[in-house]
Symmetry: C2
């Protein structure tokens, strides 16, 4: 069970002292909000005041990118501290508060072998940031901002010595803008968030069955007919790439083929393996249309297309997808079957390999390295192709053994709505892997994937953030940084920092609730929404099928994938069951929580009644009231130690099993915590009459696996 | 005292039935959420269902603008109802749910004499929107969206017959992007909000002492050196203008001169009336630098500048500011004094008139009509100049009598932080004006002015919206539409509609609070912030001077200028004092409110203690607790009718006077309501022993002015 003691104390007492309020001796002990955690981090006594005299000096290399990379954090710092920050950068490193020592520009185009390391030394007098490249400075300044702390008297940065560099060179986020278009400003704020947690690759999934999102001047109908007018002009693409480069982020475009290509076929049906006409796909899933790899005019068009894209996208890599092509159109096309016979191509897999080899040559000609999903891996494939694994670490390790570079995405599918903790513990290079050092070096990193079936500009931020910050830590920090509780403690702070960059993961929840409730005061709905999560995996589409043209503004769009309230509740239950001296404190807090469920604001019922969009939320509200009653009963039994009514435990567990089922495409995230209380109440009842202290001893012993409270073993 | 009975019932009972739930007979009586109120509006029995079969047909003229003007509301409708709306527009007007009959495109460039009228007939079978121009369709579709209602079973539009046209042809919003830059996306969402309430002029204040915000290719240093890099490229300007045109909105640029021109002088100090060098002004107020109107090279530069701007901005009008030039640089420049003597120019006012006449010719040459603030009005000025009055309706009427067109801005200075009600009751053409019909026709309308000293992209929406919607109604609707209570009832609905367009006036409040409190749960702070308003007039700068480079992220930036909570409280107090049958209902609600103040969440104190940004909010919290106690005491005296302790009234009034003083650049908006209760308690005490009913009679009589309860007159 996930718990978070420090956070919990925060809720209970709201008195966690800021670092600066602690005596020096304590503040040297690590307690920070850095995410990702730096490679080497040592706190020193004292701190550096941040007041209106703050100023920056550059000692050494400087260029336009570095200048703006310094100016942006200064503006963000001003926004945090609330007073004007001098943004004139001097060269007087003797008196400056923050000195930047940069040795060079770094790569003209951000590259996978970019040096991103930095050294940050903060004393009570001055902070000095050293880095071999401007990108290192960019990374280090994010750390500096995350160090900002405050007490009653003002703001400060603790004295610290940091030597930092990433564990993996490829730390990406895939954003699928094909299923739903995301305008340039969404991409920009996403890049801001990525830079804040030191991600360095935007994998831009630009074409798929549901949309062709990039202007191609040679074949303008591709976007015009394949996108409902929702595509990026080349100016916009260049603008986003420049924005990314300013933040030390690469942009790798993906053009998915030969499957996932319906949107190409709207304007170019002749490229398909079955007769057209084709329309933009509005459904979600895997579809049959695929390029016909036997046609020479296909390669001619792709040559022209990639010639243009190779100039537009400066990154060394170009992603050609290659996933989920089932080849059914190929099976039914006699011309294709004939071609395969002639060339001795045994099956569809081999035909796709043939296609990939043609594609490889085209990309090579235009100076690009090819990249694709697991499926493209065939023996004939040249070794400088990069494999992106959605199948798993094993598939990736296999590729590495064959000598292919690869990145892991399996385990980082944030569209599946799992909590951050689940992704956080997935490692691209798991401990105990049997790869030798050379093979391990082929594992370049990983990418979180924001597939676009259920996201739009309003809800995408709450799907990406803050969870992706935890994944970013996995890619940057040492493998040993894996304390889930501490991750969540820091994630709540980072989440607010991300909001300050303009991300809407918090603020847009209420916007959706105000819209569907048509009221200004969403507090009654918020109680419910904060306790549920969107259904996991691909269940949303099964429970409530929609096309890509339908709006995304249901209760589930307001719900978030990693309920903070549920996590806090689990912390309270865990405290109640394990922290005997503070039993009453935890109990009283849990009582307040459960009472607030039982006595749900009566306005909620009326909101639900009045809103067609909330009709299916009614049963959720009823179940929450019942869970409040169950929680209160369990607390009462646990407190008194009195016997339980016959069948109480089973009937409550049955109820919870039922209440755990999805409704309105959401599910309660608090079921495990309530279930644990019910079970605890039952085991307590077996000891009726004994004092809570005795019971606690048994619970503790039970938890450590030595004995079982329900066995009534009498060992202390 | 402002009160709002319907709203109040909303708070008390949350049971206002939606229109559709009422029996037909009632729904015919007006009760709608339209803003601005149409010229002629008649509800009919029944309603038109809006379900997934909804579709649109165009019968008659169509063009690209019309098509996108239909597509946008369809997307917004889908977002409201939560299901997919068919966006393929047919020509089958027999079966369509909504038929658009448009007679023509309207002006190629939106103009002041554009026809904006429309007729909307909704029956239980179909809605038909008739309009002479595409702009009329745009206006009518906003009305159609505002008619959307719902009940448990689904969405509908009430049957209605509307004939609508604006009262004034010039209905504008000035946005000052010189003091603080607002990026294009802020301008776009502002235009969305403007279109939603039928405003039709964006007055873009592009240059001032603090910034030169537009690219000029002939004189590129103007923007480069005058803006810190924060200016619009010409592509961005064109993009915003096209966005405005799509919404039937004109864009009138303002280049303020000869004063308010420091930012020009950074790159062109030779144009000034005193020796340079000049720097971008960082302060707020009126500054001395002014163009030297005696220099021929000034006119040469302005000729080149306006030649380019005339092409960039297609609107017929060009605003040259002309305000607040004190001419002190002129007084001290012997060359200028010499010039005046030579030319027989008597004073600075005449010198500015000379400058304006030169300017007038330049604008005329480039096909533009000149427009400026009151100060430009001089006898020599040609009659086709438009006067914008910041001085008042009288100054405007005077101009109209002289034959000048004019618009009113005095009374609509939304930067002064007054409530919507104050602006709402200002009329560009006040009843009882002594203008004859021809003179009155010179009053073209008005403009709300969002001066930019204290706004940035994060807080500007809460400064413009929702108050500007009330001003928009003043400009569009008949003068007789002036019920403040009903305006506020509708404004709360419109505010949510505006949010759905992407405006941040609601959502960004919590963003600022989370930032300054560094916590996720802002509820404790929100209680306080919702009860205060930013200080009025120009007091913020006096209380806490800042430069334009300083961040805007203080408590005052989260506070909003028209406290809804205070208005609701006033409604409750008014109900208590006037609605005898429901005395106890009101009293119990007021008790809950006052108790929540007295027992402020203890987390608030800790937040305030921990945050340097909240240090000056401590006294506010203490005073709020005391006001809670005062309110509870007053309620108790009013209920019991017992005598008051000696000096109670005066000591409480003294306290309230003190508590009403600004702190942290905000002031309590609830003082009048609490004061009223204190006074009521005192008058009730004079009648001690009498039953509440008797007292109520006296209060009522008192309110109607017939007698005074404190006189103890015994008339019933």
């Amino acid at each position: 069970m996930k718990t978070n003691k420090s956070l919990l104390l925060g809720i209970l007492l709201l008195q966690i002292p800021a670092t600066g309020q602690e005596p020096v001796a304590q503040s040297v002990i690590k307690k920070h909000n850095l995410m990702p955690v730096p490679a080497v981090l040592r706190f020193l006594p004292g701190s550096l005041n941040i007041d209106s005299s703050f100023n920056v000096a550059v000692d050494g290399f400087s260029d336009d990118r570095l200048k703006s990379a310094i100016d942006r954090p200064c503006r963000r710092l001003a926004n945090q501290v609330g007073f004007e920050i001098n943004r004139k950068v001097s060269t007087d490193s003797a008196t400056a508060t923050l000195v930047i020592k940069c040795q060079g520009a770094g790569k003209p185009v951000p590259a996978v072998d970019e040096t991103e390391s930095y050294w940050l030394e903060v004393t009570t007098r001055q902070a000095v940031l050293n880095a071999p490249t401007a990108v290192g400075v960019i990374r280090g300044l994010e750390t500096f901002l995350q160090l900002l702390d405050r007490d009653q008297t003002g703001y400060f940065v603790p004295a610290v010595s940091i030597q930092d560099k990433p564990r993996f060179p490829w730390r990406g986020l895939l954003v699928d803008v094909a299923r739903h278009f995301e305008p340039p400003e969404v991409m920009k704020r996403t890049l801001d968030g990525m830079a804040a947690v030191k991600l360095n690759v935007l994998h831009w999934h630009l074409t798929d069955d549901q949309g062709f999102r990039v202007e191609c001047r040679r074949y303008p109908d591709l976007a015009k007919q394949g996108s409902d007018g929702l595509y990026y002009t080349q100016d916009q693409i260049r603008d986003v790439i420049a924005y990314a480069r300013d933040r030390g982020i690469r942009v790798v475009p993906e053009f998915d083929m030969p499957g996932h290509a319906t949107s190409w076929l709207v304007s170019h049906p002749e490229l398909a393996s079955a007769p057209g006409p084709y329309q933009i796909e509005r459904g979600m899933g895997i579809f049959l249309p695929a390029f016909d790899p036997t046609r020479e005019d296909l390669y001619k068009l792709l040559d022209g297309f990639f010639a243009e894209m190779a100039l537009l996208f400066p990154d060394e890599y170009m992603h050609i997808g290659g996933d989920e092509n089932e080849g059914k159109q190929w099976d039914q096309n006699t011309k294709i079957q004939e071609f395969m016979k002639q060339k001795g191509i045994e099956n569809n897999h081999a035909l796709q390999a043939y296609f990939n080899q043609r594609l490889f040559k085209i990309l090579k000609k235009h100076g690009k390295r090819m990249m694709g999903w697991d499926e493209i891996l065939t023996p004939e494939l040249p070794k400088d192709v990069v494999i992106q694994s959605w199948r798993g670490a094993q598939s990736l390790a296999q590729a590495a053994k064959l000598g292919y570079d690869g990145i892991l995405s399996s385990g980082y599918y944030i569209d599946l709505m799992y909590p951050a903790s689940k992704h956080y513990l997935v490692d691209p290079l798991a401990a105990g892997s049997d790869l030798d050092e050379q093979q391990a070096a082929h594992i370049l990193g990983g990418e979180a994937t924001m597939w676009g079936e259920w996201v739009n500009p309003e809800n995408i931020d709450s799907r990406i953030w803050p969870r992706t910050a935890a994944i970013a830590e996995r890619f940057w920090s040492q493998a040993s940084i894996n304390d889930v509780n501490d991750m969540y403690r820091r994630l709540e702070v980072v989440s607010r920092e991300l909001e300050d960059l303009g991300l809407g993961h918090e603020r847009n929840v209420d916007v959706i609730l105000r819209r569907i409730s048509r009221t200004s005061d969403t507090a009654p709905l918020r109680t419910l929404v904060d306790l549920v999560e969107p259904v996991k995996e691909y269940n949303r589409g099964r429970l409530h099928p929609q096309t890509t043209l339908a709006p995304l503004t249901r209760l589930v769009d307001a719900a978030r994938p990693d309920s903070q309230a549920a996590r806090h509740l689990e912390g309270l239950v865990d405290g109640l069951l394990s922290d005997a001296p503070r039993f009453e404190l935890y109990r009283d807090h849990l009582r307040t929580v459960f009472a607030s469920w039982r006595d749900l604001d009566p306005r909620l019922d009326r909101m639900i009644e009045a809103s067609p969009a909330l009709q299916d939320a009614g049963p959720l509200a009823q179940d929450l009231e019942e869970m409040g009653r169950i929680g209160l009963e369990a607390l009462s039994f646990i407190t008194s130690g009195n016997g339980l009514p016959q069948g109480w435990k089973q009937s409550k567990l049955d109820f919870l099993a039922k209440a755990g089922k999805p409704r309105a495409e959401v599910e309660f995230a608090v079921i495990p915590a309530v279930r644990e209380l019910v079970v605890a109440a039952s085991s307590r009842a077996d000891l009726n009459g004994t004092a809570p202290e005795e019971w606690h001893k048994r619970v503790k012993a039970n938890a450590s696996g030595k004995t079982s409270a329900s066995n009534s073993s009498s060992s202390p």
